[in-house]
Amino acid sequence: DQQVKQNSPSLSVQEGRISILNCDYTNSMFDYFLWYKKYPAEGPTFLISISSIKDKNEDGRFTVFLNKSAKHLSLHIVPSQPGDSAVYFCAATTGSGNTGKLIFGQGTTLQVKP
Protein backbone atom coordinates (compact mmCIF):
# COMPACT_ATOMS: atom_id res chain seq x y z
CA ASP A 1 0.00 0.00 0.00
CA GLN A 2 1.64 3.18 -1.24
CA GLN A 3 0.85 5.73 1.44
CA VAL A 4 2.77 8.52 -0.27
CA LYS A 5 2.45 8.90 -4.02
CA GLN A 6 4.21 11.04 -6.56
CA ASN A 7 2.27 10.34 -9.70
CA SER A 8 4.54 12.22 -12.08
CA PRO A 9 7.80 10.32 -12.60
CA SER A 10 9.34 13.22 -14.49
CA LEU A 11 8.98 16.92 -15.16
CA SER A 12 10.80 19.19 -17.58
CA VAL A 13 10.76 22.98 -17.30
CA GLN A 14 12.61 25.89 -18.83
CA GLU A 15 15.15 27.80 -16.77
CA GLY A 16 13.54 30.76 -15.03
CA ARG A 17 10.06 29.26 -15.04
CA ILE A 18 8.21 27.69 -12.15
CA SER A 19 8.55 24.00 -11.30
CA ILE A 20 5.64 22.40 -9.47
CA LEU A 21 6.10 18.95 -8.01
CA ASN A 22 3.10 17.18 -6.54
CA CYS A 23 2.60 14.60 -3.83
CA ASP A 24 -0.48 12.85 -2.49
CA TYR A 25 -0.88 10.84 0.67
CA THR A 26 -3.51 8.53 2.04
CA ASN A 27 -2.76 8.29 5.75
CA SER A 28 -4.63 11.00 7.64
CA MET A 29 -2.34 10.45 10.63
CA PHE A 30 0.58 12.02 8.80
CA ASP A 31 1.27 15.40 10.36
CA TYR A 32 4.68 16.39 9.08
CA PHE A 33 5.92 16.44 5.53
CA LEU A 34 9.36 16.84 4.01
CA TRP A 35 10.92 17.23 0.59
CA TYR A 36 14.31 15.77 -0.25
CA LYS A 37 16.46 16.30 -3.31
CA LYS A 38 18.73 13.62 -4.70
CA TYR A 39 21.53 13.91 -7.24
CA PRO A 40 22.89 10.79 -8.96
CA ALA A 41 25.30 8.75 -6.83
CA GLU A 42 24.53 10.86 -3.77
CA GLY A 43 22.25 10.41 -0.81
CA PRO A 44 19.08 12.49 -0.55
CA THR A 45 19.44 15.89 1.09
CA PHE A 46 16.77 17.68 3.05
CA LEU A 47 15.16 20.59 1.24
CA ILE A 48 12.13 21.92 3.07
CA SER A 49 9.42 20.72 5.43
CA ILE A 50 5.97 21.65 6.63
CA SER A 51 3.90 20.85 9.68
CA SER A 52 0.23 20.02 9.30
CA ILE A 53 -0.67 23.08 11.36
CA LYS A 54 0.49 25.20 8.43
CA ASP A 55 -0.57 25.37 4.83
CA LYS A 56 2.53 27.05 3.45
CA ASN A 57 6.23 27.22 4.18
CA GLU A 58 8.69 29.24 2.18
CA ASP A 59 12.48 29.13 2.00
CA GLY A 60 14.05 31.23 -0.70
CA ARG A 61 13.08 29.88 -4.09
CA PHE A 62 11.32 26.89 -2.54
CA THR A 63 7.77 26.91 -1.23
CA VAL A 64 5.77 23.94 -0.01
CA PHE A 65 1.99 24.04 0.07
CA LEU A 66 -0.16 21.65 2.08
CA ASN A 67 -3.84 20.95 1.43
CA LYS A 68 -4.92 18.67 4.25
CA SER A 69 -8.47 18.21 3.06
CA ALA A 70 -7.19 16.94 -0.27
CA LYS A 71 -4.25 15.11 1.32
CA HIS A 72 -2.03 16.84 -1.17
CA LEU A 73 1.19 18.79 -1.01
CA SER A 74 3.25 20.49 -3.63
CA LEU A 75 6.71 21.95 -3.97
CA HIS A 76 7.14 25.11 -5.99
CA ILE A 77 10.54 26.17 -7.24
CA VAL A 78 10.72 29.63 -8.71
CA PRO A 79 12.70 30.60 -10.63
CA SER A 80 13.95 27.18 -11.65
CA GLN A 81 17.66 26.81 -12.31
CA PRO A 82 19.60 24.08 -14.16
CA GLY A 83 21.24 23.10 -10.84
CA ASP A 84 17.80 22.16 -9.56
CA SER A 85 17.79 19.19 -11.93
CA ALA A 86 17.54 16.18 -9.61
CA VAL A 87 15.12 13.62 -8.24
CA TYR A 88 12.72 15.07 -5.68
CA PHE A 89 11.15 12.89 -3.02
CA CYS A 90 8.33 13.85 -0.73
CA ALA A 91 8.12 12.13 2.64
CA ALA A 92 5.60 12.02 5.45
CA THR A 93 5.62 11.02 9.07
CA THR A 94 3.51 11.06 12.22
CA GLY A 95 4.16 12.80 15.51
CA SER A 96 2.53 10.27 17.76
CA GLY A 97 4.71 7.27 18.50
CA ASN A 98 7.68 9.51 17.91
CA THR A 99 9.35 6.94 15.70
CA GLY A 100 10.73 9.40 13.24
CA LYS A 101 10.06 6.89 10.48
CA LEU A 102 9.68 8.64 7.14
CA ILE A 103 7.49 7.24 4.38
CA PHE A 104 8.73 8.30 0.96
CA GLY A 105 7.09 8.68 -2.40
CA GLN A 106 8.55 7.23 -5.58
CA GLY A 107 10.25 10.45 -6.58
CA THR A 108 9.93 12.88 -9.49
CA THR A 109 12.87 13.58 -11.78
CA LEU A 110 13.06 17.28 -12.54
CA GLN A 111 14.97 18.53 -15.53
CA VAL A 112 15.53 22.25 -15.87
CA LYS A 113 16.61 23.19 -19.36
CA PRO A 114 18.91 26.18 -19.89
Partner: protein, 115 residues
Protein backbone atom coordinates in the same frame (compact mmCIF):
# COMPACT_ATOMS: atom_id res chain seq x y z
CA UNK B 1 33.65 12.62 9.58
CA UNK B 2 31.14 15.37 9.12
CA UNK B 3 28.49 13.29 7.41
CA UNK B 4 26.97 9.83 7.37
CA UNK B 5 29.49 7.35 6.00
CA UNK B 6 28.57 4.08 4.34
CA UNK B 7 30.81 1.25 3.20
CA UNK B 8 31.37 -0.26 0.79
CA UNK B 9 30.11 2.17 -1.81
CA UNK B 10 29.62 -0.68 -4.25
CA UNK B 11 29.24 -4.40 -3.68
CA UNK B 12 28.83 -7.16 -6.23
CA UNK B 13 28.00 -10.54 -4.81
CA UNK B 14 26.92 -13.92 -6.05
CA UNK B 15 23.41 -15.13 -5.43
CA UNK B 16 23.25 -17.09 -2.19
CA UNK B 17 26.13 -15.30 -0.50
CA UNK B 18 25.79 -13.21 2.65
CA UNK B 19 26.67 -9.50 2.65
CA UNK B 20 27.25 -6.90 5.34
CA UNK B 21 26.71 -3.21 4.79
CA UNK B 22 28.09 -0.70 7.25
CA UNK B 23 26.86 2.71 8.34
CA UNK B 24 28.69 5.27 10.48
CA UNK B 25 26.17 7.92 11.55
CA UNK B 26 26.95 11.51 12.40
CA UNK B 27 28.48 11.70 15.86
CA UNK B 28 25.86 12.42 18.50
CA UNK B 29 22.91 11.40 16.37
CA UNK B 30 20.68 9.10 18.34
CA UNK B 31 18.40 7.95 15.54
CA UNK B 32 19.55 5.75 12.64
CA UNK B 33 17.55 4.54 9.67
CA UNK B 34 18.07 2.12 6.81
CA UNK B 35 16.25 2.54 3.52
CA UNK B 36 16.69 0.98 0.12
CA UNK B 37 15.97 2.20 -3.35
CA UNK B 38 15.42 -0.37 -6.03
CA UNK B 39 15.77 0.60 -9.68
CA UNK B 40 12.96 2.98 -10.62
CA UNK B 41 11.44 2.87 -7.17
CA UNK B 42 11.17 5.24 -4.25
CA UNK B 43 12.89 4.92 -0.91
CA UNK B 44 11.64 1.91 1.00
CA UNK B 45 11.90 1.99 4.79
CA UNK B 46 13.71 -1.02 6.27
CA UNK B 47 14.56 -0.46 9.93
CA UNK B 48 14.88 2.33 12.50
CA UNK B 49 17.04 2.50 15.63
CA UNK B 50 16.54 5.00 18.42
CA UNK B 51 18.89 4.95 21.37
CA UNK B 52 18.43 1.87 23.51
CA UNK B 53 14.85 1.28 22.42
CA UNK B 54 13.89 -1.82 20.51
CA UNK B 55 14.35 -1.13 16.80
CA UNK B 56 11.39 -0.73 14.47
CA UNK B 57 11.93 -3.63 12.08
CA UNK B 58 8.59 -3.33 10.35
CA UNK B 59 10.14 -2.64 6.95
CA UNK B 60 12.50 -5.59 6.69
CA UNK B 61 11.29 -7.57 3.65
CA UNK B 62 12.19 -11.04 4.93
CA UNK B 63 13.99 -12.88 7.69
CA UNK B 64 17.10 -12.90 5.51
CA UNK B 65 17.51 -9.26 6.48
CA UNK B 66 18.81 -8.20 9.88
CA UNK B 67 20.49 -5.16 11.34
CA UNK B 68 22.22 -4.22 14.51
CA UNK B 69 23.58 -1.08 16.01
CA UNK B 70 26.48 -1.47 18.38
CA UNK B 71 27.08 1.01 21.15
CA UNK B 72 24.44 3.32 19.81
CA UNK B 73 26.68 4.28 16.92
CA UNK B 74 27.79 2.10 13.99
CA UNK B 75 25.16 -0.03 12.32
CA UNK B 76 25.48 -3.13 10.15
CA UNK B 77 22.79 -4.36 7.79
CA UNK B 78 23.19 -8.04 6.97
CA UNK B 79 21.52 -9.83 4.09
CA UNK B 80 21.79 -13.59 4.14
CA UNK B 81 21.50 -15.83 1.10
CA UNK B 82 21.21 -12.87 -1.24
CA UNK B 83 18.74 -12.97 -4.10
CA UNK B 84 18.73 -10.98 -7.32
CA UNK B 85 15.74 -8.96 -6.09
CA UNK B 86 17.94 -7.68 -3.25
CA UNK B 87 19.88 -5.61 -5.79
CA UNK B 88 19.35 -1.98 -4.84
CA UNK B 89 21.00 1.06 -3.32
CA UNK B 90 20.94 0.76 0.45
CA UNK B 91 20.83 4.11 2.19
CA UNK B 92 21.55 4.89 5.80
CA UNK B 93 20.47 8.07 7.54
CA UNK B 94 20.79 9.54 10.99
CA UNK B 95 19.13 12.35 12.89
CA UNK B 96 19.98 14.16 16.07
CA UNK B 97 16.74 13.46 17.89
CA UNK B 98 14.06 10.81 17.61
CA UNK B 99 11.41 13.34 16.89
CA UNK B 100 9.95 13.34 13.46
CA UNK B 101 10.41 17.07 13.20
CA UNK B 102 14.11 16.79 12.56
CA UNK B 103 15.35 16.02 9.10
CA UNK B 104 17.47 12.97 8.58
CA UNK B 105 20.90 13.20 6.97
CA UNK B 106 21.62 10.50 4.44
CA UNK B 107 24.82 8.77 3.45
CA UNK B 108 25.79 8.19 -0.17
CA UNK B 109 24.50 4.66 -0.10
CA UNK B 110 25.84 1.21 -0.93
CA UNK B 111 24.96 -0.08 -4.38
CA UNK B 112 24.42 -3.82 -4.05
CA UNK B 113 24.36 -5.97 -7.16
CA UNK B 114 23.50 -9.64 -6.83
CA UNK B 115 24.58 -11.68 -9.86
Amino acid sequence: GAGVSQSPSNKVTEKGKDVELRCDPISGHTALYWYRQSLGQGLEFLIYFQGNSAPDKSGLPSDRFSAERTGGSVSTLTIQRTQQEDSAVYLCASSITPGPYTEAFFGQGTRLTVV
